[in-house]
């Protein structure tokens, strides 16, 4: 989805892609702000009969959306009793909905200079990361890890079959 917006590896001039930063602790994942349709708290989670690999459900606009929780190594957690994540970010892409638990969900303030695909040699292992971005903040360069609704769903499906 991100690559459909921008040609790979081109420097972005004046345009601004707005992202939300979803914190898993030491790792922050960036999601297009337009794909994050709701931010819920853990009190909104229904833990009854969760789907495979999920921890529960949240409701949004008559949709029952599975909630997933990742560790910093992208292992799926089946129970959230020992983690500090209090927020569920609900992502949507067309008719695909998914909710991701995180510590914080904030607007990403750094300037995104360039988008690039995940390097080929890194694609052999399943990952929820869709692409990478070069960011700049006060002349300091940084790298961001971009996720999409589809990349998360694909990863979960691959993970569930392992």
């Amino acid at each position: 989805m991100i690559q459909a917006l921008k040609k790979d590896n081109e420097l972005l001039d004046d345009e601004y892609l707005q992202f939300m930063s979803l914190s898993l602790g030491n790792i922050e994942l960036l999601a297009l702000q337009s794909s994050v349709i709701s931010i819920d708290g853990i009190q909104d989670i229904d833990y009854e009969e969760p789907s495979i690999k999920s921890v529960g459900w949240v409701n949004f606009d008559n949709h029952r959306i599975p909630v997933y929780s990742f560790t910093e190594r992208f292992d799926l957690e089946q129970s959230i009793s020992n983690n500090n994540k209090k927020i569920c970010a609900v992502l949507k892409d067309e008719d695909i909905f998914i909710s991701l638990m995180c510590l914080e969900a904030t607007s990403f303030r750094q300037q995104i200079v360039k988008l690039t695909s995940l390097p080929e040699c890194m694609q052999a292992q399943p990952s929820p990361i869709d692409s990478l971005c070069l960011c700049r903040n006060d002349n300091k360069s940084d790298v961001g890890f971009i996720i999409t609704t589809k990349s998360i769903v694909k990863y979960i499906n691959q993970y569930a079959t392992q």
């Binding site: 992208f74 200079v113 080929e120 040699c121 890194m122 929820p128 990478l132 070069l134 790298v143």
Partner: protein, 156 residues
């Protein structure tokens, strides 16, 4: 006799590998690295170079099955073409700076048996001036997803 220039990269005291002079475009000492979560062990770091994000392959992890280091002492920036014939850049993490050597055909040799893991990504081999057998590596294959899948199967 015409000689070609090759960068000789040291993996360890007994293992060396090389690329042609034109393939190595920059040598960086102690660059800032960024760890990519869930990336394969042998290429889990990236660096920023000229506003490009480059994957960094750890040679010692590939060939010695050692755990990849979080820091890179030296990164050799390599230019190569991917399977779509597009120019790409990647990094190779080394312990020491590579050395440039001029090689002629008389130095060519058979790929030694101990470099079994290098067979699939070696183009040929030569004897360096120090007397080491040095495979010449195919960088396009080295940075490919196919080679990555092969290494993951071998648990690197």
């Amino acid at each position: 006799m015409n000689k070609s220039a090759a960068w000789v990269m040291k993996v360890d005291d007994s293992l060396y590998a090389s690329v042609s002079q034109m393939e190595l475009v920059h040598i960086i000492n102690r660059p800032n690295t960024f760890n990519v979560p869930n990336a394969p062990e042998y290429c889990k770091n990236i660096i920023i170079w000229n506003d490009n994000i480059l994957p960094v392959i750890d040679f010692s992890c590939v060939f010695n099955k050692a755990r990849s280091s979080a820091n890179c002492d030296v990164v050799a920036v390599i230019i190569y073409r991917n399977c779509n014939n597009e120019i790409q850049y990647g990094g190779i993490s080394l312990a020491v700076t590579p050395e440039l050597e001029f090689v002629d055909n008389k130095q060519m040799c058979k790929l030694p048996d101990y470099t079994g893991d290098l067979q699939s990504i070696s183009l040929s081999c030569f004897i360096s001036k120090e007397g080491h057998e040095v495979p010449i590596l195919d960088m396009s294959k080295m940075f490919s997803i196919k080679y990555s899948e092969e290494l993951i199967r071998q648990n690197c």
